[in-house]
């Protein structure tokens, strides 16, 4: 799914009000950010998959998103690059790559990367999704999909077949710059977001030999 010049921009309605963290939640966000910063400074290569004890599932901002409001969610994320990852709590490859996406979010936060998680869980599985998000230490607002599958798929990328996980990278103008289906390695994620963040490719390291998304 390499996206060429034909790839469209996310187009949405003019008004939408995404959920914002409650005032009660904000001090915790600050604490968590400090924690993440400390962890990031000490061990950049360690996966940031452990949530601080204070991050509780019921306090997460986890809100519905419709196909029509996706564009605004991406725009409001305000990233120089915005990575949208569609996952589900029951999806094994999604769960496997999740810590790497969180690590990517932490590592490139100050370079302008925003990571927007959208859960495709059914209503009855949303509590599981929430628990998983807390366990992964996702202390920023995330979303769950509502409404038509077809419209949701087309809003993210008409080239997407709908298979999970699905990952989409948009630039600051909301233009789709890269996308893929199936789980990816950290090196692949990194190499995909860096050009959008105007960063040079990372020096080839040994782990890159495993980064090609070979058909399994």
């Amino acid at each position: 799914m390499q996206d060429g010049p034909r790839a469209g921009r996310l187009a949405g309605p003019a008004s939408y009000h995404p959920a914002v963290p409650s005032a009660r939640f904000l001090p915790r966000l600050a604490l968590v950010a400090l924690f993440a910063f400390t962890l990031g400074a000490c061990a950049r290569k360690e996966p940031v998959s452990q949530a601080p004890d204070s991050l509780r599932a019921e306090q997460l901002v986890f809100a519905p998103v419709t196909p029509d409001s996706l564009a605004l969610v991406v725009a409001k994320a305000g990233g120089k690059a915005t990575l949208v990852n569609v996952w589900a709590s029951w999806c094994e490859p999604c769960r496997e790559e999740f810590p790497e996406l969180v690590r990517l979010a932490r590592t490139y936060e100050d370079k302008g990367l925003k990571v927007v998680f959208v859960s495709a869980d059914f209503t009855e599985a949303l509590p599981d999704a929430r628990k998983f998000l807390a366990a992964q230490g996702v202390d920023w607002p995330t979303w769950y999909k509502t409404g038509s599958d077809q419209a949701f798929i087309d809003a993210l990328s008409p080239k997407w077949t709908g298979a999970l996980p699905g990952t989409f990278i948009y630039d600051a103008q909301g233009k789709l710059r890269d996308s893929w289906e199936g789980k990816a390695t950290y090196a692949k994620m990194e190499n995909s977001v860096r050009p959008v963040l105007s960063l040079p490719p990372v020096t080839q390291v040994e782990t890159d030999t495993t980064s090609k998304e070979s058909r399994s």
Binding site: A88, A125, G182
Partner: protein
């Protein structure tokens, strides 16, 4: 030292290419185009009731319906009773149905052949539920998720590719039963109203290709 590094690298490569990475899909290859014939139509697969059956074997007078599905995927489970009903009904209308499980059961044991056998019985499947032992059939179709349907007309041309209907979560809230409508159109010798649709689904857990 160099040799050690090389050995470590080789070991890590073996690890990443093992079953743990099954389910990884590459940038999806183009799926079968409308008008195309079914690929690998004469490849035999073991069905849940112990027979060896190919896609060509189940061909009906009016057409053939191929549905990639599985036992474990929550979307496949939500749609399961509708798929069974549709498949049993298609058979009566002269459209031969074959459900195919291409998932590697090493990823989720519920996708094993044994579970297929019990599921076919429990659900009253009157059509073949086949085990794609290499995932090769799904690869040849360019199928990426479960469930995913391909409907061929009497002349063997693909006339519908996509999902079951527009609401996996709630059968009562379905507004457009895409596949049922397509089956009815083909059975009646009419043009399919909507030929291509999409829905969310579980990525097919492909086995490691022997070619790579």
């Amino acid at each position: 030292m160099k040799a050690t590094r090389a050995a470590l690298l080789a070991a890590s490569l073996v690890l990443v290419s093992g079953p743990a990475t099954a389910g990884e899909t590459a940038s999806a290859p183009a799926s079968l185009a409308l008008g195309a014939k079914a690929p690998m139509a004469t490849s035999k697969m073991k069905t849940a009731n112990g027979k060896e059956v190919s896609i060509a074997d189940v061909k009906g007078a009016k057409g053939t319906l191929v549905v990639f599905t599985c036992n474990a995927c929550p979307w496949a489970k939500k749609w399961e009773s509708r798929i069974v009903e549709l498949g049993n009904d298609a058979g009566k209308k002269g459209i031969g149905m074959i459900a195919i499980n291409s998932n590697d059961p090493n990823v989720n044991a519920d996708d094993s052949y044994a579970v297929m056998q019990s599921r076919a019985k429990e659900r009253g499947m009157k059509f073949a539920y086949a085990y794609d032992a290499t995932s090769g059939i799904a690869r040849a179709f360019g199928a990426t998720r479960t469930p995913e349907a391909f409907l061929f007309d009497a002349s063997g041309k693909l006339v519908y590719h996509g999902t079951i209907d527009d609401n996996a979560d709630d059968a009562a809230a379905v507004k457009d039963a895409y596949l049922a409508n397509a089956v009815n159109a083909v059975a009646g010798g009419k043009a399919v109203p909507v030929a291509e649709t999409k829905a969310l689904g579980c990525g097919i857990k492909f086995r490691k290709s022997s070619a790579s």
